[in-house]
Structure formats: structure tokens, C-alpha cells
């Protein structure tokens, strides 16, 4: 994995010059927009640290907490409404996401999966245009469910910050692996900040919640350091 570099703290409206991307072709992530007056610079739209990853990607690591849907995101949601073949799922953004009952593996007009209001769903965003309701699916491009679908009723749903989901989903982060050495558990992390946990005892779930609470206030380096001590 290519390391990303920190280029300092920016406030909305501040102009970012000295773009180092290859061939003047820049990919911009959240918190940035292109500057209309000067094509070789960017303008920050969120307060946070500007990060650059070679060869040409820039984004801002901000303290955002409201989830904005993006195409292809894997999210955990709560079914809030069921009408006919359509489910409305709360994924934490401005609107309820739309999920067809036919978008499950092996589902047909006659054979529909058993989904009720209040169930938890692990799904993928098929469509996330800002002018439209987001649309979810529980199958991949080969019509297989993979790990998507309705989550079992035994688990617990908690909310964590968006920043922490990115930390936990980073494959190099040792927090989840270190916890798994202590006790077995199943976890589903949606990038919308909703996390589903299932463990043998309620105590283990609480331990995980406590660990996430502590990790929210720590930097990535100190999490790695703390995990090393518990090995």
C-alpha cells in the first residue's frame, strides 16, 4: 500500500497550491473542490488535514459525522418500512435508502426472502446520486449474496464515528485481530458508522464497545502501540 502524506491543516475556502500530481491529472476526494479561477489549484470545503497519496490523489481527513452515501459503499441499515416489494432502509443519511426484495440472492416474484421491519441489513449501495434516493442491493455482479443480506437477530447494533470505521476497516489495523485473540466474535462494519456485533456473551460485546469508545479518542499510532502491548 502506498503511504499517504499529511500536508497540513486547512479551513474551508483556503486555496491549495503546489499540486504535485503526475501529468496535471488530479483525483480529488471528500472535502475538496476545483478552483475555477486557477486550474492548477484546489479549494478546501471542509476543515481538516490535507492528505496526498502518490501519484495523484488528494483528500481531506475531516471530522465529518453525518454519512453521505457513495456508490459502492458497504453499509449496515435498519429496515423501517415495507410496502410491497420495496423496503425502506435507514442507513444514517438524509433519506431512507431503497431496497427491492428482488435484490436478494435467489429471490423471485414468488419466492421472496423473509424480511421484517426492524431487521438489520448488510448491503451495497448500487446508486447514490445526490438528486435521488440511494438504492441498495444484497447481491454482487454475479447475483450471489457473498456476505450481504439480512443479519441474524442475535447481534447488537452500535453507532461509531465515521473516522473510526475507516480506522477499523484498514486491513493493517491490529485492533480487531487483537480483540479476536481474547474471545471469538462476529462483526459487520458499515462505512455509515453502524456496526453489528455478535459474541458468545454480553460481556464480550461490552468489551468491544468500550474498546471502540477508547479508540475514537486515540490516534492510529497509539492504537497500534496499545495492541502490541496486549499481544
Amino acid at each position: 500500500m502506498v503511504a499517504s502524506t499529511d500536508l497540513g491543516f486547512f479551513l474551508p475556502g483556503e486555496v491549495i497550491k503546489d499540486i504535485e500530481s503526475k501529468d496535471k491529472y488530479t483525483i480529488i476526494g471528500p472535502g475538496l473542490r476545483r478552483n475555477e479561477e486557477d486550474p492548477n489549484s484546489l479549494v478546501a470545503t471542509q476543515a481538516g488535514r490535507l492528505t496526498f497519496r502518490a501519484p495523484n490523489t488528494y483528500w481531506i481527513e475531516s471530522r465529518r459525522n453525518r454519512y453521505i452515501p457513495k456508490k459502492g459503499d458497504l453499509v449496515v441499515g435498519v429496515v423501517t418500512k415495507k410496502s410491497g416489494d420495496i423496503l425502506k432502509v435507514d442507513i444514517g443519511c438524509a433519506e431512507f435508502a431503497w431496497l427491492s426484495l428482488l435484490a436478494f440472492e435467489g429471490s423471485t416474484k414468488k419466492m421472496k426472502p423473509n424480511v421484517n421491519v426492524g431487521d438489520l441489513i448488510y448491503a451495497k449501495l448500487l446508486n447514490a446520486h445526490k438528486e435521488m434516493e440511494p438504492e441498495l442491493v444484497c447481491v454482487d455482479q454475479y447475483y450471489k449474496s457473498g456476505r450481504l443480506g439480512v443479519l441474524p437477530n442475535e447481534g447488537v447494533l452500535i453507532n461509531i464515528t465515521l473516522r473510526l470505521t475507516h480506522t477499523l476497516l484498514n486491513a493493517e489495523n491490529p485492533l480487531l485481530r487483537t480483540m479476536a485473540k481474547k474471545f471469538p466474535y462476529e462483526i459487520v462494519i458499515g462505512v455509515n458508522g453502524k456496526v453489528w456485533i455478535k459474541a458468545n456473551q454480553a460481556k464480550d460485546v461490552l468489551t468491544l464497545c468500550k474498546a471502540f469508545e477508547a479508540a475514537e479518542l486515540e490516534s492510529e499510532k497509539s492504537i497500534i502501540e496499545a495492541c502490541r502491548q496486549h499481544k
Binding site: 479551513l11 475556502g13 483556503e14 471542509q46 476543515a47 475531516s62 459525522n65 453525518r66 438524509a94
Partner: protein
């Protein structure tokens, strides 16, 4: 996260203090004090808009101002509209069509510079929530006394204040984005006050940046 503006204290400017994340359930919240005025501000957004508030091409901004006691009155409605208008131009509302952005302002303590305090608190709350913004705004208020003196600190005796002028600036060009005045003054005095507040606004932006940096250090 408490942040104090110790390095910005001078005898003729109000001291700024803020605490981020004062409320746990909102997207962004701040407890902010300017001199002895204190405001709690919080932002929710973008959230689902009610049917009659939906705008097809941008987010609708709503501001709710709560006074210390009692129900909001006419004065509070005026403050609401001032804050709403500023938020509408500063927040990139075109990025979130058909949604709503809710701004809640709770007055905690009033010592004169309430409007500028509320505007600065909303600015910090917006930054805390991470909503996309075109620029950061900062407000400075200025008081004209009966003997023609201009000061950023309100006089203890309210009767000696002839006029209050509030200016809101952006951080990119330093241009003025809103002005609110109460009382009698001449055009000359207005111009002098504007220049004075523009200078002072740099301190406000410096404070915003240092306090966010302190909150960001994990």
C-alpha cells in the same frame, strides 16, 4: 476539548473561548463565549426535509434561536433570519439538494455582543460537523458610545452605548458578507467601525484555526 484564546487577549478585544462536541447527539456542536456572552450552537445536517421545505436544487437552511428563558420573540426571529442568511451563503447547500440543514442556537448569557457571538458559534459548529462550506465566516461587533468612541468591548452601562454595529467577514478575501446595526451613527463612523472590525476579524479567524487544530490533535 477546551480551547482558550490566551494569546489573543488584549485589553480592547473580547476574549474567545470554545468547547467542541458539547452535545453528543448533534452532528456538530460548540459552546462558545465571546467576552461574557455565551452561546451554545449545534448543527444537524444534511437531514431529511419536510415536504413543504424541500427545495429541488439546494438544501434548505433553518435556524432556531432559543432565548435564555421563555418563548422566542420578535427580536429572536430577527437573529434567526440573520444567521440563516449567512449560513445559506457560506454552506455549500447546492451539494445537498432536497435536504435540510438545521441550526440550533441557545442563548446562555448575554453581555451585549450576542449576535456576533451567535454567528461565531454557528461558524464553529459548522466546522465541527464537517459540512461542506464555501468559506468560513467570523463576526465582530463594535460599540459606539455617546462621546463618539468606538470599542469592541461593550460598556457596562447600557445607557452610554449609542449604537451597535456587527460585521461578518469571510476568511478568503476578507470581504464583508453581512452587516447588522442598531442605533444612530454617521456614515463616517460606520466606515471607521468597518475597518476596525476587519482588523479584528483576523484574530477571530486565527482563533478558529488554532481551536480546530487543537481539537484535531488526537
Amino acid at each position: 476539548m477546551d480551547v482558550h484564546s490566551k494569546e489573543f487577549i488584549s485589553s480592547n478585544t473580547p476574549e474567545l473561548k470554545c468547547e467542541f462536541g458539547a452535545l453528543s447527539r448533534s452532528d456538530g456542536s460548540v459552546l462558545f463565549s465571546e467576552g461574557e456572552s455565551v452561546i451554545m450552537a449545534s448543527i444537524y445536517g444534511p437531514v431529511e426535509a419536510t415536504f413543504n421545505k424541500i427545495v429541488i436544487d439546494k438544501a434548505s437552511v433553518d435556524c432556531y434561536y432559543r432565548p435564555k428563558a421563555g418563548v422566542p420573540g420578535v427580536q429572536d426571529r430577527l437573529r434567526e433570519s440573520v444567521i440563516r442568511n449567512i449560513c445559506e451563503i457560506a454552506v455549500a447547500i447546492s451539494l445537498y439538494p432536497r435536504t435540510a440543514v438545521l441550526v440550533n442556537v441557545q442563548e446562555m448569557q448575554n453581555r451585549g455582543q450576542l449576535i456576533s457571538c451567535a454567528i461565531n458559534a454557528v461558524s464553529l459548529a459548522c466546522l465541527d460537523s464537517g459540512i461542506d462550506m464555501k468559506f468560513v465566516f467570523g463576526a465582530v461587533s463594535c460599540f459606539l458610545s455617546n462621546n463618539g468612541e468606538l470599542s469592541c468591548i461593550p460598556s457596562i452601562n447600557e445607557d452610554t452605548v449609542k449604537a451597535m454595529l456587527v460585521f461578518v467577514f469571510n476568511n478568503t478575501t476578507g470581504g464583508i458578507i453581512a452587516s447588522h446595526t442598531e442605533g444612530c451613527f454617521s456614515i463616517e463612523q460606520y466606515k471607521i467601525a468597518l475597518e476596525m472590525c476587519r482588523k479584528e476579524s483576523r484574530n477571530v479567524f486565527k482563533f478558529i484555526k488554532t481551536s480546530l487544530l487543537a481539537a484535531d490533535k488526537l
